[in-house]
């Protein structure tokens, strides 16, 4: 999922300081799963925004709503139902949602309610860890399913840097040395030879270094 966390409240209060009516808009996708921007978080943020406004002696009206997704045109168009009822939107979706609202609603003012942090999974209740960098050229078939791009502090592709101690990263002691983990896992599953395959110099253009990425599926386009 795309993991996010709420921005500091004072920062959002400042964003909406010129608005009298705010649509606080959640998303039922990833940000609901990581408890950053679902229905419950919308209710909390709306309350905090009203409290923040009252501190400034202002009245703030809030509409609280949550879309199925904010990364699809048909759902973003659902904002029409609140047309004329808000001065600004605070989107609690990931950055994709904020951009989609900005793309599709040229007259609407939209602010981000969360900081989008990484592609990750829930390691434990209330704990999320990065697992994928979305680099566009997956190599985990050679690394036992473990991603060195996202999970090595140096994104090394040809083995460990030599600085790890006890299977831990020299930069973040609480983090696994993913290359140690890759080595151990390949050994365990009988694929140790995979580690001897040398990754060529990488073309990072698929990772966004060539500008915004686009994907077209001819079988799906109409």
């Amino acid at each position: 999922m795309i993991v996010a966390e709420r921005k500091p409240v004072a920062e959002i209060v400042e964003m909406v300081s010129g608005a009298k009516r705010v649509l606080v808009l959640g998303c039922r996708g990833c940000v609901t799963v990581c408890s950053a921007g679902g229905e419950r978080e919308v209710e909390i943020l709306a309350s905090l925004l009203r409290l923040g406004a009252s501190q400034q002696g202002r009245t703030l009206e809030t509409i609280e709503a949550t879309l199925v997704r904010q990364c699809d045109r048909e759902f973003v168009e659902g904002i029409d139902q609140w047309a004329g009822q808000y001065d600004a939107i605070v989107s609690m979706a990931c950055g994709v949602g904020v951009n989609f609202i900005a793309n599709l609603r040229p007259r609407d003012i939209v602010y981000p309610g969360v900081n989008t942090t990484f592609f990750g999974g829930s390691a434990d209740q209330g704990v999320w860890t990065e697992q994928c960098a979305g680099c566009g050229n997956c190599v985990v078939h050679l690394t036992g399913g473990l991603c060195p791009v996202a999970r090595c502090a140096k994104s090394l592709l040809n083995g460990p840097c030599g600085g790890s101690v006890g299977g831990r990263c020299e930069i973040h002691k609480e983090v696994l040395c993913i290359w140690q983990a890759i080595h151990d896992r390949l050994d365990r599953i009988g694929r140790k030879d995979d580690i001897n395959r040398i990754a060529p110099i990488r073309d990072w253009s698929t990772a966004g270094h060539g500008g915004p990425r686009k994907q077209v599926r001819d079988d799906l386009t109409v």
Partner: protein, 141 residues
């Protein structure tokens, strides 16, 4: 400046037994602040962050949350969950520049205990020294 704070108390079914048995007059006789109101919950773990924030929106100057002892909650984890939510509200208040001390979690055993009255009295005194809630200045709705 003297003012009478509005204190809201959220307590679970078990830690509110004293309040129910003694009634308002009995509690007052025990020293329970007359300016404190009690909301009973089936379990403190049922208390949501938004409910606490709503209390501040509705004019609370201070909030007490009372649940079972940490490892003796009738519903196992309820009071621990409540404590986490109190921390979340404190963090949010501090992000708005408001004293986090306006909310406090207490873990108390069920039954009749002077600590219940003391916890609320402590919040009453603390809130009197801090003054009215900064959220009372405006007209949020």
């Amino acid at each position: 400046m003297s003012f009478t704070p509005d204190i809201r108390v959220f307590c679970c079914h078990y830690t509110s037994q004293q309040a129910i048995a003694e009634g308002k007059d009995g509690l007052t006789a025990d020293g329970f602040p007359v300016n404190a109101s009690i909301d009973r919950l089936v379990c403190s773990g049922k208390l949501q962050v938004s409910t606490i924030l709503k209390a501040f929106e509705d004019g609370a100057d201070g909030v007490c949350v009372v649940g079972c002892p940490v490892n003796e909650c009738h519903n196992l984890m309820g009071s621990q969950r409540a404590a986490h939510r109190v921390v979340a509200v404190r963090k949010a208040l501090s992000e708005l520049g408001v004293e986090g001390e306006r909310i406090e979690m207490s873990h108390l055993p069920r039954g009749f205990h002077p600590e219940f009255v003391e916890a609320v009295s402590r919040m009453d005194e603390r809130t009197r020294s801090m003054g009215p809630s900064p959220f009372k200045g405006g007209a949020a709705k």
